[in-house]
Every structure is written in structure tokens, then in C-alpha cells.
């Protein structure tokens, strides 16, 4: 198994590039879905101590909405799309307005809203994964998405339990997507894609990228 503490800059750079390709594809998909401009940041690939992971992302106690998918196949990997609860609600509203022609019914149930959120998350995360698998030439299958609304620290326990088994560090690829405001409403909506390659998948990824 790879020792994360011995990662060099070239390897981190390669993984950052993978994140970049994934994000580009995800941004395009989201842009088509919502018919609006999407901005993206240059992704970051960081090694973070699992003991301070929630501080790395923000306030451990803050409420977030998250969509989780698992990629099965040669390149095993988990992906989480995390947003502030408020941003997530705005994004879902934007999607529903698109679908209902400007005025979504006001009394939609939480399940319906979650279903919309999981679909957006699913599209973002699948596009991200498709790009990566295309790049390294692997086949994959994506699980049904899971949605959770909870404290940031609780959500990140998923990450911690994956990386905790192999050591103290987590390799996280982070990228931010921002949905630009339309003319009447300039509120920007942000979301973070967190990519968590399985320990043995990481080795495969680095080998395919010829940095191992």
C-alpha cells in the first residue's frame, strides 16, 4: 500500500490535474443542466491530517448538505459534493425553476427537494468520474447517490474512516464550482467536490499517470 506521507510534489500535481479534468467536465454538465454560467477554481490536491479534516473545510458544527457516490471498478473511489445548506437550497430552487418554467410549487416536500439535490449531485459527480476514467482508460460503474443534511464534522467521518485505516493522512482533491447569478439575482452558489480515491486505486492512478 502507498505511504501517503512520502508523496512528492510531482505526484500531487498529477492528481491536481486529474481533479482539474474532472471538474471541467462536471462544470460543463452543471452548466447545461441549469442553463447558466459556471465558474470553477483551479483544484487543490492536499494531504491533510485526518484529525483536523473538518477544520480544513470550515466550522465542524456548521450545517451542510452532501451527496455521496461510490465508483466501483478498477479505479475505486468515493466522491462527495458538499455545500452549505443555504447554497444547496438555492441550487435546488434554481433547478426546479428551470423544470417548472419559472415557478416551482411552493409546497414541495423535503423528499422531493432531496431527490432533486441527489440528481444534481449525481450529474456533477458522474461527469467528474467519467472524465477521469476516460483519461486513465478504466471502466467504472457508479452507485446510486446518497444524500445527507448534517454537521460538517459528521459528514467528514466518512472520509476519516476510509483513510483512518491506513494512517493519519487523507488525500483530498477539492474543487469549487460557482453558479453565477442571473441578471435579477446575483447570489453566487458554491459547492465543493471532494474526491477520495481508495488506497489501492491511488496506486493505479499514479501508475497510469506515469508518476510512480
Amino acid at each position: 500500500m502507498l505511504d501517503l506521507s512520502s508523496f512528492n510534489n510531482l505526484q500531487l500535481d498529477a492528481i491536481r490535474e486529474v481533479g482539474n479534468i474532472g471538474t471541467g467536465n462536471a462544470a460543463t454538465a452543471l452548466s447545461k443542466l441549469l442553463s447558466c454560467m459556471i465558474d470553477m477554481d483551479v483544484p487543490k490536491a492536499d494531504l491533510v491530517s485526518i484529525y483536523s479534516l473538518s477544520e480544513y473545510y470550515g466550522d465542524p458544527d456548521s450545517t451542510v448538505a452532501a451527496v455521496f457516490v461510490r465508483s466501483l471498478g478498477e479505479f475505486g473511489c468515493s466522491l462527495i459534493f458538499i455545500q452549505d445548506e443555504e447554497d444547496s437550497a438555492l441550487m435546488v430552487d434554481l433547478l426546479l425553476r428551470e423544470q417548472f418554467g419559472g415557478s416551482p410549487p411552493g409546497d414541495l416536500q423535503q423528499e422531493m427537494l432531496d431527490s432533486a439535490l441527489s440528481e444534481v449531485g449525481n450529474i456533477i459527480l458522474s461527469s467528474f468520474l467519467n472524465a477521469i476514467n476516460m483519461l486513465i482508460g478504466t471502466r467504472h460503474q457508479i452507485s446510486v447517490p446518497g444524500v445527507a443534511h448534517d454537521m460538517l464534522a459528521s459528514i467528514l467521518d466518512v472520509v476519516v474512516s476510509i483513510f483512518g485505516q491506513m494512517g493519519d493522512m487523507a488525500l483530498v482533491v477539492n474543487t469549487e464550482l460557482r453558479i453565477g447569478g442571473s441578471e435579477k439575482d446575483d447570489r453566487r452558489i458554491s459547492g465543493n467536490i471532494v474526491m477520495l480515491p481508495d488506497p489501492n486505486a491511488l496506486e493505479l492512478l499514479l501508475r497510469k499517470l506515469q508518476v510512480l
Binding site: 485526518i50 484529525y51 483536523s52 479534516l53 473538518s54 465542524p60 458544527d61 450545517t63 452532501a66 455521496f68 461510490r70 466501483l72 452507485s143 446510486v144 447517490p145 446518497g146 444524500v147 445527507a148 443534511h149 448534517d150 454537521m151 460538517l152 464534522a153 459528521s154 459528514i155 467528514l156 467521518d157 466518512v158 476519516v160 474512516s161 476510509i162 483512518g164 485505516q165 491506513m166 494512517g167 493519519d168
Partner: protein, 162 residues
């Protein structure tokens, strides 16, 4: 005035009363409290994973249930607690995401944490007097050495005391 101690991920803290032990946002992790109300000593561990076997050496004693449980007990005895009077309470061990597909074993780490922590307590002979575990919601917990009550806050469900 009670001093408040934040027990971080994989940390273990033992205190003498009066004090408050706090852990934020437990998802699949376990908040374990062991206390001796006569000696007025309490310990809390933020357990991440069930067992240390197959992993590297434990970097932090609170990380794995099989090491954390005996460590809390030992630390408490060092401070003057008696093992015979010790009682335990646990909270946490939720499963944050549920996917219907296969090969998502790692998502159920919460229930394995509960199982292993409970088994270790039984092995050590410390009675588990109260617990609030499982489900799919994160928990923030606070233990008071004045009342020996563990207060649990869950998003959207309010507060419970055990």
C-alpha cells in the same frame, strides 16, 4: 465554573470534576464516556474505527475502540478512580449515507464501532448504563461531571439526555 474540554478526533481526555467534556459532530465515530462519580473522575474518547489490527501502530490512543477503552480506564485509575465503580455511556455510530448497492461496507463502520466498543466494555467489566447509537444523523455530545448526564444534540431532532 466548569472547565470545558473539547475532545478532538481520536483524542482521549480524563478530567476531575467539575468539568465538561465536549465532542462536536460525531458521525460514524463514537463518543465514549467512562465515569466514577464517587472519585469524581470522568474520561472521554472520540473513537474513529473499531480495531487496530491490520493497521499501523496506533498514533493516537483514542483512535481505535480496542485500544481506547482500556486506555480510558487506565488513565482514570492513574487519577484515582476505581474500576469497580466505573460506568460507561456511549453515543454516535451513525451511518451517514446509505447506498443500496454492494461493496459499501466501509459506510457501516458506525455499527461496527458500536459493536466493538460495547464488546470492549464488557470485556473490561465496565457496565454500559446508557447509549444513543445508530441512525443516520450526526451527534454533538456534552458530558457534565456535575450531573453525570450525557447531553446529545442531533440536527433537526433537538436534544436528548442519557
Amino acid at each position: 465554573m466548569e472547565n470545558a474540554y473539547h475532545v478532538g478526533m481520536a483524542d482521549l481526555i480524563v478530567v476531575s470534576a467539575p468539568a465538561k467534556l465536549i465532542t462536536l459532530g460525531l458521525g460514524s465515530c463514537i463518543g465514549l464516556v467512562i465515569f466514577d462519580s464517587t472519585a469524581k473522575i470522568a474520561g472521554m474518547a472520540h473513537i474513529m474505527l473499531p480495531d487496530s489490527r491490520g493497521g499501523k501502530t496506533a498514533e493516537k490512543v483514542g483512535k481505535f475502540a480496542d485500544i481506547a477503552v482500556p486506555s480510558v480506564i487506565d488513565e482514570m485509575i492513574k487519577k484515582g478512580a476505581s474500576k469497580a465503580r466505573m460506568k460507561a455511556k456511549i453515543a454516535g455510530g451513525a451511518q451517514m449515507f446509505a447506498l443500496p448497492d454492494a461493496s459499501t461496507d466501509f459506510l457501516s463502520v458506525g455499527s461496527r464501532n458500536v459493536k466493538e466498543t460495547t464488546a470492549m466494555l464488557t470485556k473490561a467489566g465496565v457496565p454500559l448504563v446508557a447509549s444513543d447509537t445508530g441512525g443516520n444523523k450526526g451527534r454533538t455530545v456534552e458530558f457534565s461531571t456535575t450531573t453525570w448526564i450525557l447531553t446529545i444534540k442531533t440536527l433537526g431532532k433537538g436534544t436528548t439526555e442519557i
